[in-house]
Amino acid sequence: MKSFALRVPAQVRFISQVVEVVSEAANHANLDSDDVFRCQLVTDEACSNIIEHAYENVAEGTIEVRCFAEPKHLEINLYDTGVKFNPVEKMPYEFPPNLSTLEPGGLGLQLMYHYMDVVQFLSTDDHNHLKMIKTPSNRLTRLHKYEMQVYESDQGPLIIMPRGQLDSAFAFDLDHQIGRIIADGHRLIVLDLRDSTYIVSRVVSTVVKYWRLLSQQGGALVISNTPPRVATVISLIGLDSVMEVFSSRQAALDKLASMQSNR
């Protein structure tokens, strides 16, 4: 185990130094760059809360950081001697947020609880102590309930194959992904839904948006392999009456191949 420590004045311009110490420790714990980013963000949020709430932006206090890093495990401790405060009581957070009641600080706390494995506020009479632990994120179980593979088929069209729950986060990711694929010059896309378990309407509207765009550009976006539950949603929304849905990926690829040869 390796330890890292620093004490800085509790001022916004010193937060980056605390974040730097945490980054070094996170790298030492072999966390990947996304997790290092998450550790940086929560440290930034925690320090901002200390300055704003424990020191109320005026006191000339300090923030002390102590990290303990071992492979795949990072412990971050932040200490201050400001006013005793428990952010959990002070800043309850609604998810999704209610804009009319959104409290400053609540957002930062939400990020901490989401990104860290452990978040503990351990105040004593003479100091506040925030302890956070981070281990490597599991992409499927933590933020996203899906994975997405994108690759070129032997016949040429690109295959997008998501797995898991196609929720609103997926819709956004898909929008990005197809936008990039089209920017790269691809015009034929198969969205293979074989391993999807659930689909929201926002995904459907994203698909329709690119189906329309590609149709206008002489390309095509088709769906294949819908599992029964997903097929029911697609049918209820009426997507299957707008665009072609194929029972197998091969049938979809054959259709796209015939489109290419007819050009």
């Binding site: 916004v12 949020e45 947020p97 804009l99 959104l102 957002l107 939400q110 956004f172 990005h176 990039r180």
Partner: protein, 111 residues
């Protein structure tokens, strides 16, 4: 943080770059206020943003409320995956309309 304002049709595009954090968020707030003086339809081009914390998010939420009060909107474009994740985790992805490209966001105000 870099910030640049430009008009696109009847919307204002706020082009952001770099880090949006507690130090730079006030500058973002000023830029958003200035943009809102010109139009209640704002597009935030975030392609160049590598980092945003809650201070930056709060500035965007403030602008969103102000724009909505004037029958406008704040729409986000070209978020990098890490920044998009911050919006998802904070729940703000369900509030802001998001587009993969700025041109799409401009077009969305036409509809």
């Amino acid at each position: 943080m870099d910030v640049d304002l430009r008009q696109s049709e009847d919307a204002m595009v706020v082009v952001l770059g770099g880090r949006v954090d507690s130090e730079t968020a006030p500058t973002l707030g000023e830029a958003l206020s200035e943009a809102l003086e010109h139009s209640a339809k704002l597009i935030i081009d975030m392609e160049g943003v590598q980092y945003i914390n809650s201070a930056g998010l709060r500035e965007l939420v403030g602008a969103f409320k102000e724009a909505r009060a004037k029958d406008g909107d704040v729409r986000l474009a070209a978020l990098t995956p890490r920044v998009a994740e911050v919006f998802e985790v904070s729940g703000l992805a369900s509030i802001f309309q998001m587009h993969s490209q700025t041109a799409d966001a401009v077009a969305s105000f036409r509809a």
